[in-house]
Subunit: 336 residues, 6 copies
């Protein structure tokens, strides 16, 4: 009954969102941005995949419902990105791969299933965009990417370092993925960086460990004093610019201020506005059309906990984060 | 990735909900009860179809988001109905047909699209379960059923009569579907009945008109004085019992008390509990196994307005209403 | 601009709600039930008056916003009461007198202002319906009524006795109005009764004091075992029936279960449904048309705290309580 | 009972808000800022009018309850505006004209009623401040103003262009008013400007059309890079400054970030803070006392959807928008 | 600073709630019912202990915040229980033992810690009242009780059987405690009973298994047809009456209808009202003063998930459940 | 059962938060930051004390529940403050003193109790951090401090001046504490300053009075034009720098924008972000380690009204305000 995908009039394979002039935006398929399901298309340049899991959460749980919430909050996304002057869904076949089935009672098994699922989805060359779910899942994502790309730089937006060692004896939680990844040699220790860090730590040693594990830090405070443009410069410099190697972009939605992202598990005051975050992300795009861009090989948006959201404030921010990163991908040239 | 539908192990055609031991209930396909999509199955005995439309609403709008909300609230439904001793999804192929695309700016056009869509879905013999959306859509549903069955008895659960004539000059709103249907000869005027009526009216004449249009009334008050069992008897008597002819069951969720269904557009104090409503619905099942049941030929559950719901109280009630009516259908023997 | 009051077509003095066929129910004057303001009519049989005050509250405050909330929740009230077969706004001129200005920082002054304001409004014979506000205000209401009627029976719906002596040294709070009223000789100690009492007390002596102060008790529990009809009989018997003397009906919305009235200050589990409450109130109407009714000389609905309400569940219940009591008044014959 | 309007002690005609020392701010008349009703004053310099209508809404409905919500959220507004050093209610007679009755089932009829109502209110020279309601209503407002002033410049704050052509075949929706207005010759194509635009479009052609229809664009992004002061300069330059002609200020509350305005129908991440919006609006005031100001001839604040608001965040922002524009009007000298 | 416990004027060891005439109910110690902490008293007859854990949850998580929420919702509890005519805090020393520290990342370790913690608390003879937390924790509670009492009858209030075998391979989740307990010989298979069961199951075999594991079933539906009094008789008969042996009372708050308990993880429509639940619980008290009562040796109230609660509806119900069971304990004579 | 305070392994006196590796952050003692209770430690350098009182509130009440809410929102605070490079709980013994019992029905009595309670707590040299409660309580706090320190400079963050004279005849409300304090000679009129002022006033005279009473003003608007660093300079200049005398820091949470602090009683649009506020507060720390800091002798954080908060946005901001001020105290050297 629902028919027609935007910009897909004469094609048997759907592409882009369902036509909003035939099916109102509040209706239609509950995929991300009302895009085709992966099963409907022959192959995809980008696959959006839900990671409904929160057993690694140390405070407020609920990110298991995050993927469905981000999808529901993405219905208003339209085809053309004016700030980046690109139409991501026309430039790339973007499809929704549904959810991975992850065991909520067994973290190690869930990590294995997640890695296997991501490898399977990526084997045809699709760039994966993970919708979390909690941050534990960045580890299997990096394991899957390492198999394809070797060590990747991690561009990590978060209030927290997520390089803690253990928590109540547990090595695999949402506070530890980047320590494990660094220990396993999955990340490029010269080019990784946290953006938006703030709030109290356990001790001064947390920062020393973090440096040793391969991360630079751009605190949230620097947005107040420096502004977005200078932070983009610092981030691009740390990443090494186009050609320096693959980059994984991991966005913990708690990088935003609680006012802009109440629906998350470990909120910290003093965070970014959604405008600051989106501007920073757009800073990854090529400086000019045709120039090479940052080589983004994987993306996640995690820690959206809908039970604490209101009026989809958090969900909409997460959906826009994905959309802006799709714009960056569309301009940067990698295709499946 | 999500794989396996309960009870569908050795079949290439999925049937029943996705296997909850492979994909946790909070994940997986966002269809009603995590059932197969209509496109995945060859044909269906019952098709659940979303009717995202609320342009006929006179007070609180928002039922346009009702279908997605009822689906999200239906994920906990399991395969076996102990009170009715039946497994509806095993007894019948039940599939989710997605949403109809209905024009929010043009009520007459939306009525036409709705009727056409329903006729198309019903042409292979599927019994339709409409997820509203507002009550305006009972009219096109009855038009579609009339083409197949002739006049049908309407078993209508609601706080309101919905047999008003016009509202601000408009003939087609959520307050008028059953007057229009009666005028058009779509309903059986000897066997139709409202259950749960309460709250103030415009005048005593409203009830006279309603009687003339073919409806008996069971007020909500009678649940206080008579109890469910006696009301079931009265309803079955009015419907004429098995063999008396086809019945359309239309459940406006505002038949429930605002405590049990805050997420609706025109709430009235003094309503039913969800237990009373479900027990009344189960009263439509055959008195004993093998005996004939009420011949339910169509169902809707309407007026779920999620912006006013809390913690899916209303959505869960609506999902259970559908589930119990599926149980009645499974026992009553009609198959596509 | 908004024009036309229902049933007021050829009259220069408006009467009844604004015509819903000219101004949709979600719009128009923010008076109770969209009725005329008192200043628009020559005189009123019933005056609805807001009592925005909560300085006497011992737990959750916020009832100061109750009057506006009840009015906003009353917009759906229509002219005809089918269960009582009467049109209250046609039978009586009912007008909204706005809010009394009560000092939130000085309880004694607020009591004086409230009493004066109520006397002033009642001097032309109008029956007053107070929209609270906290229960402290039942005391000045009873003082005002005593000046007109002498001692009145109090029919008090509440989870709590409200006959405590002092609280932290304060004699005038929402827990003490009926002790003060009894001490001041304002109430008929032979005919007063609490309905819906439940939850823990300070000690067994609370009940002894209460009896001595002139109240019988119908616990909420009796609704479970006895049902509404028998409770109505007990209430009418205690009130002495028609002709036995004037009655003040005071409804603390926390008589309802927290599910049915979350928006209140001192909720207690195990309460009434709105259907039970409304049925009990309707039990005050004359047994048959033309027979004398209970002589209700004043009404309040108090303790609605909107910050804790959801989707107007509590507000709608309160508005229906007022509407049903207006139906009782319309049938009982007292006119200004 | 409620008595005394601030600064109106010795006048028979009320002026300004009800005296807060007599009636607490949480009580009293439910007019905007507790101002007099239009019927209470002989004539008004500014009339605030509710436009409860949302049938033109393409996503989340509910703006039909916007006028009541903005009024409820305006109770804290006090008489003196320190940032502009003016007392708007003393400088001008500002009155609340209540709501227009607009048909929710018939968009063209609602447009006609709205235009007629606004013409009627404006005929005595009052400047109108419309409280929406959805943005569809900017069209009848501009039609009414055109009859008085000829083409006006539109200063439009919004996340969206609102110059789309049709939506599902409908020419008159909340996404099309400024295209229709431009086509009808109602606006000054040399001086109109959108401020706060962001989020995805249907295509690059949307911007070309928009330019052709007479609008310049100040994207939300420019607040990040340029700051408020430079944006004010650009806006004033586009408007042509004092003497250049009449200006209509239309504020879609979704120009704010979802964090600052969750209660709206089509939210987009990356928006303005309320501080940025208010500072931009104050930039319309005369540069110095006695100098001429921008000639604002009409105002609307639209798309406030209370069901999605929390704790009046959105309503308070809308009320402050109105208050700051009243301050601009007070300083700019136009009087009825 | 906070001083004085009700009824503890001349005692150095505090007993009962903090004196509400010295410290208002909205203030003071955040213990259950503002009771003394266990560390403040020499020993306790009853210890209330928080079990903040939800790693065994299959759907909505969040019960880890349940203990704090129930405590916050218990502040209004007063000393005297009029329906049972007892003062539980005077009859018994009831103290709050704080929370057990349970590992959220390792279910087996959490079960061990919970069992050890409970044994430690019970070793001086205190009866334990566990505030959940999810239902997984009933298993370690029963293990701890078995060490003291041998097999106990389980009186289990729930929408669900909680006798499933595994879920996604996990043997220890909130859906399996009573199967494990039965397998381990912890329960009396002749005297255990579920009350309030409803909603769909996986298959008819679920009920067969359940019977074999030692449970009788009182479905929620029977409250509609039979009423509370008859259900109390059935429950007492199944438990064997006073002297038949020890009883563990386990109350999953989802036994209540979603209207009465939205704040829970796996809600099912058609549940009990809080009044029905409280009346059933009170049915455990001795039939007359001095007669022996049911020998309750342990209590839990679980599955309160505050993120889904509203206005403490669910929390208050849970607090009253505890209070009524304390009343039963006080009358039944067991003391530490 | 809960055991171990961070950094307190070999000490009999607990210090700092409970060890998060033994008791998860969502569990454990409900003290501020899970710190020891005052009764558990011999003496404290800083005592955090709850002031549950809101009888001085002129608009939305509910700050009486503020202390419990701030404590619940403080559980995520960890021991090390990276931006200030200090561990406040290691540098100082910080303990939670519980709540003062303040009479909600008698403002003067509550002021007396509050002053006495604060004097008692401060007598051993502890610096007090008050958790409000409404702003009325700044007056008794200043009275208590005056007895120890003589006149103190007030650094006051607020949307409002709080130097009004009376409100409805009441001299002691949340709008008047600083006028009373100035009149009583409690404050240093040369060094006091408001930060964040915005929104409408009663008249231009309000500002004149305020200046006369000894306050400079930094409007919220200046954050837009000047940025945080320059505002810190102005504040430090006004305070006179280190050595100039004692400073009381009073933070009304409504200094934040409603988006960042919805949970408050008199919200005004156009406020600060939490990042701006926290940066300003950190500006009070010594310019370099070892240099003298501002001599902060007392702190309050007031006007947190949880019924209007969402997902602890406001509570978390308040908890971080306290934490950052503890960091300032730790660096500035004053010890008990």
């Amino acid at each position: 009954m629902p028919c027609g995908h935007d910009g897909a009039v004469d094609s048997p394979i759907p592409r882009g969102p369902v036509d909003a002039t035939a099916v109102p935006r509040f209706a239609g398929p509950p995929t991300f941005a009302r895009l085709p399901r992966l099963g409907e298309v022959s192959r995809a340049d980008v696959a959006v995949v839900g990671l409904p899991f929160d057993a690694g959460t140390s405070y407020r749980p609920g990110a298991r419902f995050g993927p469905a919430h981000i999808r529901a909050s993405s219905k208003l996304l339209r085809p053309y990105h004016p700030a980046l002057a690109t139409s991501p869904f026309a430039a790339m076949q973007v499809a929704d791969a549904g959810d991975l089935g992850l065991n909520p009672f067994d973290i190690p098994e869930a990590l294995r299933s997640c890695e296997l699922g991501m490898r399977s989805l990526a084997q045809d060359g699709a760039t994966l965009v993970g919708l979390g779910g909690d941050h534990t899942l960045a580890l299997p994502a990096l394991r899957a990417l390492h198999a394809l790309h070797g060590p990747v730089a991690v561009l990590h937006f978060d209030a927290h370092l997520d390089t803690w060692d253990t928590y109540m004896g547990a090595a695999y939680t949402h506070g530890t993925p980047f320590r494990r990844a660094s220990e396993e040699g999955l990340i490029d220790r010269e080019r990784s960086v946290h953006v938006g860090i703030r709030g109290p730590l356990y001790g001064a040693g947390d920062l020393d460990d973090d440096t040793r594990l391969g991360f630079a830090v751009v605190p949230a405070d620097d947005y107040e004093s420096d502004g977005v443009a200078r932070i983009v410069d610092r981030v691009r410099h740390r990443l090494g610019g186009p050609g320096a190697g693959p980059v994984y972009v991991s966005v913990d939605i708690d990088v935003l201020d609680p006012a802009a992202a109440p629906g998350t598990g470990t909120p910290e005051a003093g965070g970014l506005t959604s405008r600051e975050l989106l501007h920073t992300l757009r800073g990854l795009a090529p400086a000019a059309p045709g120039e090479p861009g940052i080589d983004v090989v994987g993306v996640d948006v995690v820690e959206v906990a809908p039970a604490y959201d209101h009026a989809e404030i958090t969900g909409i921010a997460a959906a826009h984060v994905v959309y802006d990163l799709l714009g960056v991908l569309a301009l940067s040239g990698r295709r499946a």
